[in-house]
């Protein structure tokens, strides 16, 4: 148990050395268009289509269809 706690504490120390604060004026790359998950409309529609086809569900994603996977 003692070893476990020691290892846990040491791993926390190692992990926290990687913490960095991104200042407000350094967020240019994060605000870039390429960082958007929905930047490719066609890919988003295709992903939604695959998801509702597999789950046999639809709605809430802006994609039409009956959930049969045939459209």
């Amino acid at each position: 148990m003692k070893k476990f706690i020691t290892l846990f504490a040491l791993s926390l120390l190692v992990l926290f050395t990687g913490c960095a604060t991104v200042e407000p004026w350094q967020k240019g790359n994060l605000a870039d268009y390429t960082m958007r998950s929905d930047r490719d409309e066609l890919a988003s529609v295709m992903t939604s289509h695959i998801q509702f086809s597999r789950e046999a569900t639809t709605g809430g994603e802006g994609v039409g269809g009956g959930g049969c996977g045939c459209n």
């Binding site: 003692k2 040491l10 913490c19 004026w25 967020k27």
Partner: protein, 177 residues
Amino acid sequence: MSYKIRTNRFSIRKLFWAALSAPIFCVAVQANDGWDVDTELPDLTSFNLSGELPGTKGNVVLVDFWASWCAPCKASFPSMEEAYQKYKDKGFKIVAVSVDSKAKSMESFVNRLKPSFSIVHDSEQRLVAAAGIEVMPTSFLVDKSGKIRFVHLGWHGKESAERLMAEVEQLLGEEPS
């Protein structure tokens, strides 16, 4: 023997708390006070800015930090232009400090909008780091005696525009101390 175990336990506990408090310590060390209300505006010429700085002495000055990737910053430009046009003859100056890492990004926005007030580039991001801003955009309104009087955090459309106009008018009506 029992003493030894207690010592070990104590060391582990100390290590554990040290690990947990490490990020708090890091944040405390990195915290920057920055510019505040009722403090003197530092000499902007000592920050290696590119672009032409207007004469600030004896004028009401708005120092605005913006970037081309920041939508609210860009939204504030038409209102700043309006305020500048309205009050420039009475001694109102605007220094819009771009914190873009690339000059090209800044230039493409400036060339499109063509603001008539002063635009400078803080390519090394030294001035913005000294100002210690917390949100983009942040602007500091400085009175005729060079003291920061108002700080605007973010841009909230009409509300911010009206506040800016009222504050500029107030400061222009004051005598330098």
